[in-house]
Every structure is written in C-alpha cells, then in structure tokens.
C-alpha cells in the first residue's frame, strides 16, 4: 500500500496519483484538508513499530504502508483552520495529528519520499555545497563575509558576482551591481553570501532512485524561476547529460539519504558543469508540463517498488 500525503489537487501529488492509477498500484490519499477526520496512533516497543492510521473512517495498519509520498503543507496555514483561534480543539487536533504523522514518517520502514531529516542540508547553502563537493561536482566560488572590502576584492577577482541568501529563505539570486556598492556597509550587521557568476545554461536534474531527467532552461534572467515576474522568459527542454555527471548526481542523492531531488546545475560554454543546490522537495510538475518528461511516472514506479 502506498500513501500520498498532501492536498490532492496539488500538481505533483495529483500527477503521481494519476500514474499510480495507470500502474494499477494500491494507494490511499491522506487529504490534509480533511485533517479533522484523520487519526493516528503508534508505538515502539520490544516487538517493533506498530500502529494505525484512520483516514475519513477507514483504518489502516501502519505496517501495511510500504511507501509514502510526502507533499504536506504547514498545517498551521490550512484553509480549514483559518477561522480557528490559537489553541482551539481543531487546531490542537491538527497539530497533534501532523506531529504524530511526521514522527512516524521519520522512523517508518519502507520508501518515504522524502523524510524530513535528510532534507535539512538544504537549509544552509554553503553547508550543502561542502557536501556536494565531496561527490565530485564543482560548485561556484563562494564568499560569505561581513567585510565590504572582501566583497570588493572578490568582485575584482571574479568580475560579475551574484548574492543570495545563505539559508533556504528568500532564496532569489541577484546580480551585484554598481549601485549595490553604496549599501555594502549593511553586511557588517549580517554576513551575506556572494558567488562568482557562472555563465552558461541552467540544467535541472530530477533524480528518483536510479533514474534521472535533465531539463535545460534557456532564460534571459539570472534566476529563471522568477524570469516572468522580472519581465523575462524561460524556455525548457529535455536534454542529456554526460554519464559521469549523471553518476555523480545519483551518488549525491544517495549520499544525502534522499530518494527524490531536483539538482540545479549550470553547463558553461566550455561544457563544464557546476552544481548550485539540491532541492529535496522538488515541485517537478513545472518541468514535466513543459517537456513531457515522465517524472511523475518515475516517482510512482519508485513508490510501487518497481525501480
């Protein structure tokens, strides 16, 4: 039995459900918006891990769940709880249910795409960069500092540089321009991450188990994810990667203890590849919708144990 957790209309979850239907695999959807009708109880003792999950009146043994696809949103912001005051019984139930569910997901045997703990590396880009380097992928030259002079020297050394958050929050990439020099003194209060701009073409690689799907993005903006918002464009198409890069992406994914990731690469005009980030909860539907790459099918096959 496969469990899909989240909101059924959310694109990635809906696409994986459709593919599971096509495969004929048995699954249940844990509709987060119906949390009031869900319950979970489990225990760990000398006999192992056991318990039950009740979804809208149907009770399942947790032992019968072999795989889980997790697309849960922050339960505090569920529309159903919008009118509920802090600490109301409905809010307490939602929090208690989600905590018990998430704690079980962390220790449940079987395939969980993805558990929360290994996703943590994405919260610190330079930390993740150090892990990425270990798997043989190049990363952009990076400087984190609170010293304006160090930034100016870094810029002189590398030419065009960009800046972005160190954490996973507000992670929009911006080019460092001449007008930014005047406000550079602000970094004395909170260090900032700068990187040498890597010229070339963005490539997003989705890795699921041993399968990879590479998508090339041609954009006239530095951060293609926000190209339209910035008045630019982004064109996506399927592409092939050299086998050594594919192998490194798979090894990196395994090394991070993740089953499904979106890896952001850039291919330089010289054919070199740089790795920027590993996204542990990829919203792959944008890429599949633009390229027809069968990513959802691969996720479904992985969950069903077919890969």
């Amino acid at each position: 039995m496969i469990l899909l957790c989240g909101i059924p209309s959310e694109s990635p979850l809906a696409m994986v459900a459709r593919e599971l239907d096509a495969l004929g695999a048995a699954y249940r959807v844990l509709n987060q918006r119906k949390v009031a009708a869900h319950d979970i109880a489990w225990q760990i003792d000398g006999a192992g891990l056991a318990g039950t999950l009740t979804l809208e009146g149907e009770t399942l043994s947790l032992a019968a769940i072999d795989a889980v696809y997790v697309r849960l949103m922050d339960d505090r912001f569920l529309p159903e709880l919008e009118e509920e005051p802090e600490g109301s019984p409905a809010r307490r139930h939602a929090r208690g249910f989600h905590d018990a569910l998430q704690r079980w997901l962390e220790i449940a045997p079987g395939r969980v795409v993805n558990r929360a703990e290994p996703q943590g590396s994405n919260g610190s880009k330079p930390y993740q960069a150090q892990l990425i380097q270990k798997y043989g992928l190049r990363i952009p030259e990076t400087l984190i500092t609170n010293d304006p002079d160090a930034v100016l020297a870094f810029r002189r050394q590398h030419g065009t540089i960009i800046y972005k958050s160190i954490s996973g929050v507000r992670s929009i990439v911006q080019a460092f321009a001449d007008e930014d020099v005047d406000r550079l003194d602000h970094i004395r209060w909170c260090p900032v991450q700068f990187q040498a701009l890597v010229p070339g073409t963005d490539v997003r690689v989705h890795v699921i188990g041993d399968e990879t799907f590479a998508t090339e993005i041609v954009s006239d903006k530095i951060d293609y994810r926000y190209a339209k918002r910035a008045g630019g464009s982004a064109e996506l198409r399927a592409t092939e990667l050299p086998s050594d890069i594919v192998e490194k992406c798979i090894a990196l994914t395994r090394g991070l203890d993740l089953a499904f990731v979106g890896i952001d690469l850039k291919r330089t005009p010289d054919g070199e590849f740089f790795c920027f980030e590993v996204n542990p909860s990829p919203a792959f539907s944008f890429y599949e919708a633009n390229t027809e790459q069968p990513i959802a099918r691969a996720v479904a096959r992985y969950l069903a144990g077919a890969t």
């Binding site: 018990a100 990363i139 030259e141 500092t145 160090a150 954490s167 909170c190």
Partner: protein, 240 residues
C-alpha cells in the same frame, strides 16, 4: 589547538577544558559572547578548498588552519547573538545565522565532539521517538514509546528535569558507563554510531522489575558526572 565552543555559563565545558589542559592538550575556549562580539568574518568555499577566518574582539583569530579538533557545546546560535537580533527581519536573520554557523562549524577538520547538523549545532537534537527507534534498532532495552493525534507535541519534547539514575557516555569508540549499566557498553556504542554522534550521553532508569532500561540520549551531556574516565576518553580523541 582544540577549540571548546560553549555558552558563557557552561560549567561542563569549563570542566572539560581544564581536564584537557591537565592532560597536555592545547585548548582555546571560545564562548557565545566571544562569537557575538566578533568582527571580520570570511568563509570561502571553492576550487582551492574551504577557509574560515573570524577575528575575535580580544585579538584572537579563529581559523580553519589553527583548529585541529573541537568540543562543540553550542546546540544553537549563541544566546548573546540571538539577543542582538530584532526587528521585522529577525526570523530571517536567525535562519541566515544558523545556516552560516552550520557551514563554518562543518568546515573544521579533525575530531568534532560533535559535528554540527541541520538539526542541532552540536549534533542531531533528536525527538524522543527517534531515540526510541534507534534504541530498538541497536537492541538497547527501552521503555515503550507511544504517540497519537491526541498528544500535545510540545509536551513530548520535554525531557526529564532530574539527573538520570544511571548514565553512560560514548566518546569516539570508548564507552564510559556507570556500574549499573556497564553491561550495555556494546549497544551504547552502536547507538552512538547509528546516531552519527562522536559524543553521546545515554540515560538509564531501573524499572519496577529492577532491570535497567534506556530513557533518553543527548548530544550535550553533563560531562562533569563522567569524571576522570570521561576526561581521559576526551583527551584520547584529541591527542595528536
């Protein structure tokens, strides 16, 4: 030099630093207040490797080249730094600061007790359910753990306030256990390995039947209780 990172009032860190010095280990204690008051910071990652430099206000320089081991007692950002953050961007600044600390602490070479993780700067700060699962995995007898929708998640995080009736410590490959729980040395070692912790304090209590069982573990143990055997084990890890 072995870096001892701690909050200002961490008596266990001060005790450990003194015991390491007595055992001829060169130690530099850097507190959260030292870090909060530091000046120039540079952390580089690239094709030439990884560097980290921090100028402390008292003139000391903290750098990757100088540090050959670390007793890391900072579970989160230094309190003195957190107190400095305010305004509408406070949460963002906290996230950025944590991300930076995680990276520069990870960058140090040599033995780390403990290495930083995304779930805690001095090691993975696991939920009691995760410790119970690991105990089961390594055959360490433990009290049953139960959780359901009806539980208040905040209460589940609360640990025991009183010192445990018996404790064991894993330091690298060595186990320092108090007499009642010395028989558990092997599963304690396996627990630390499964938890990815080079330093782990493991708590035990006796049940009504008189048998000892695991009640919890911490990556920030009370080192003083371990006495000279624990100090010896710490020194062994850091000795060149």
């Amino acid at each position: 030099m072995v870096l001892v990172l701690c909050e200002e009032g961490d008596l266990a860190a001060a005790w450990a630093a003194e015991r390491l010095r007595e055992r001829s280990i060169e130690v530099d204690v850097v507190t959260g207040a030292d870090l909060a008051a530091a000046g120039h910071l540079e952390h580089r990652i690239g094709v030439d490797g990884i560097t980290f430099e921090l100028a402390l206000a008292d003139g000391r320089q903290l750098s990757r080249a100088r540090v050959h081991g670390m007793l890391n007692r900072l579970s989160f950002l230094p309190s003195a730094w957190v107190r400095r953050l305010g305004g509408p961007d406070r949460d963002y600044a906290l996230q950025e600061s944590y991300a930076l600390y995680l990276s520069w602490l990870h960058a140090f070479e040599g033995p780390k007790l403990n290495a930083p993780t995304p779930q805690g700067l001095c090691g993975n700060w696991r939920h009691p359910s995760a410790w119970a699962a690991l105990a089961l995995q390594v055959d360490l007898p433990a009290k049953p753990y139960r959780q359901s929708s009806r539980d208040d998640p905040g209460v589940l995080w609360q640990g025991a306030m009183a010192p445990p009736p018996a404790a064991a410590y894993v330091v690298g490959e060595r186990v320092v256990a108090e007499p009642p729980v010395q028989a558990f040395a092997a599963p304690c070692r396996r627990l630390a390995a499964a938890a990815g912790a080079s330093l782990l304090g493991i708590d035990f209590a006796a049940g009504a039947d008189g048998h000892w069982h695991f009640t919890g573990a911490t990556v920030l143990p009370d080192l003083v209780r371990g006495g000279a055997p624990l100090a010896d084990a710490l020194a062994e890890v850091f000795r060149p």
